[in-house]
Symmetry: none
Subunit: 204 residues, 4 copies
Amino acid sequence: MTRTAKTAAPRALVADKRFAIHRAAIKVFAGKGFFNSKVSDIAREAGIADGTVYLYFKSKEDILHSIFDGAMKEFIEDGKRELERLTSPEDRLRRIAELHLERLSADRDLAVVFQVELRGSTKFMREFSAAGFAEYLEIISTTIAEGQRSSSFRKDIKPIVAAKIFYGALDEMVTNWILSDKHYPLVPMAGEVTKIFIGGVAAK
Amino acid sequence: MTRTAKTAAPRALVADKRFAIHRAAIKVFAGKGFFNSKVSDIAREAGIADGTVYLYFKSKEDILHSIFDGAMKEFIEDGKRELERLTSPEDRLRRIAELHLERLSADRDLAVVFQVELRGSTKFMREFSAAGFAEYLEIISTTIAEGQRSSSFRKDIKPIVAAKIFYGALDEMVTNWILSDKHYPLVPMAGEVTKIFIGGVAAK
Amino acid sequence: MTRTAKTAAPRALVADKRFAIHRAAIKVFAGKGFFNSKVSDIAREAGIADGTVYLYFKSKEDILHSIFDGAMKEFIEDGKRELERLTSPEDRLRRIAELHLERLSADRDLAVVFQVELRGSTKFMREFSAAGFAEYLEIISTTIAEGQRSSSFRKDIKPIVAAKIFYGALDEMVTNWILSDKHYPLVPMAGEVTKIFIGGVAAK
Amino acid sequence: MTRTAKTAAPRALVADKRFAIHRAAIKVFAGKGFFNSKVSDIAREAGIADGTVYLYFKSKEDILHSIFDGAMKEFIEDGKRELERLTSPEDRLRRIAELHLERLSADRDLAVVFQVELRGSTKFMREFSAAGFAEYLEIISTTIAEGQRSSSFRKDIKPIVAAKIFYGALDEMVTNWILSDKHYPLVPMAGEVTKIFIGGVAAK
DNA sequence: AATGAATGAGCATTCATTCAT
DNA sequence: TATGAATGAATGCTCATTCAT
């Protein structure tokens, strides 16, 4: 044995276990829904005892929050990094759409949790809204405003409203993809959405 | 009329009570979410005994289904009737958007149930999808296709994809409106969505 | 139509309906057990409305009591009548056994209720005991005592204990017959029981 | 022993708690009947929480089954052990009767459950019959057949029928004893039953 | 007498969470 | 840290009974 019995677990292991519970929860929630998932299901999936879950998370709901927060944080960080490289508003919108769909497309279970489970309560939706979602919309909105400033986009639309439209379109693409039995590629939809949206907001 | 009073009266009462439970459930579900709502909450709200609920509905879930089915049926019927009067695809899309938002705007509780509670389970989402939702999308999609045939709309977009984008945009308007603390009017958003969408799909 | 609508129902009809509920209850209780039978099952079987049951019986349990009382009364009356014709204790015991098995054999549903449903509660068992059962045992016991007085039967046994043995043996025959999947004739068992019992109590 | 204390201790505790629930259930079922007993009654009697019951038993009905199975197993094991020591069929029958009554006499609550609660459903009766009861009858039947082979018992009776008679007589003794308000000793009844039964089956 | 809609008390079972080891 | 046995609050649904018609 290379690991001694009673020494403190390295910080990395803590992160590992927390991550394992994360992944297990995403899988379980995606499979049977948040309300129908038992904490013991998650524990079994993660290969730990029920009680151990509570050493890393405050409650079952806390896991759900944490899934959202973690993913959203990554989303936004990656998004910002990518957008720095691009200058035209059109390219930026296109890239946002691609990233949005790439992300969720790459992790169907996570997508299910995002599109379905996180919508199950106004309570969560508000927190959802309050937390990262507002920032996400803000990024889109800012991009559109820049397009207006540079006269690429028409000025008779409100950036925040247009941002919601863009987001809503992408969101619906994901939801449809999840619910569909046919396993078509999601990412190409980014082009369709961008094509119509940019057409709609472009200055004549 | 050959129907005697004896049977006619109960018939009306049955409908009344069923309707009362319907309304009560919408209110309760909207207020605390489907999973957190107790059947006894609904019964109290409807002014009846707990057991009476089960004379009109098979289960708590059956009430939710029924809310969706009933509202969707009305939606689609009204929508079709209205659309008959209009000929240009642009007018039709605009009217669809208006109707969509008018409807849900007029009944905030119903809107909450539609936007939030009905999304809480993939199981329901699939039925949702299968049942009325597909027909709803179909109406939009057909309108777009007509626009393409009459050369009002560009032909390099797939009507069904564009329909999802249109629906997604409207859906997001409603969700944002519900979650917002500010009580702004929802219906004007129909114009915003239509403006951008039609701009995006219009032939140059 | 020969019956006017609003006149009082003749006494005979009352008895008819009461009897119909009786029969329906025996069938239903035999089929699914007292606790698992619903009053509405009985009403449906009897072809009447649920509420009507309560015009003839005080409660569901009252029906069960009534089934027992009615059948027991008939049993005992018939038994006494038959026994008057016989003089030897041996013949009387044999006839008791035959009657016991004939009765229950002729109405399997009633037999199930007697052997199974009526045993389901000490509460009922005590009333069962208190009511007709004691009288039934008394008849057997008296017959045995007569046999002792006439020196046909040995005197070193207590008539009441012997009566219980005789009854217990018959009772077990019926229970076994009910539970058996093979549909053998029950009545011949009367001979077997009597043969052994009389052999056992006979004076040497 | 290679078993560590860590596993041995729980093992013992598990058995203890299971047993405690067993005893509690026997007491509660005997007191108010199976259908009228609440799981929480059993839990309270056993000094545990309601939910704990379900860590040891699948359902309320499972407890009843388990009571029967456990007692029946003991019955039969003890019976076989005792019978090995005896050779004459008469002695064996006498000993069976004694054991039967001793057992149930020593645990009145268990007796009530056996005589009353287990009879409350044909469903259970059939399983009852199928499981241990058939084996019990078999032991009696075999003993009688041996008596016939050794010419102690008359050959014009069917062993299995005689066994039912013997069992039925004993069973009735117990039922009467349970229902009686007078607290007379049950065991002496074994002699009465045996005396008459052996007299009845004895070869002349 | 008959109906059957309405009532509402009653209960087995589940499962998130705790805590002694 | 990790365990998993124990807890006990929480609730959808049933069905015997009532009563207005």
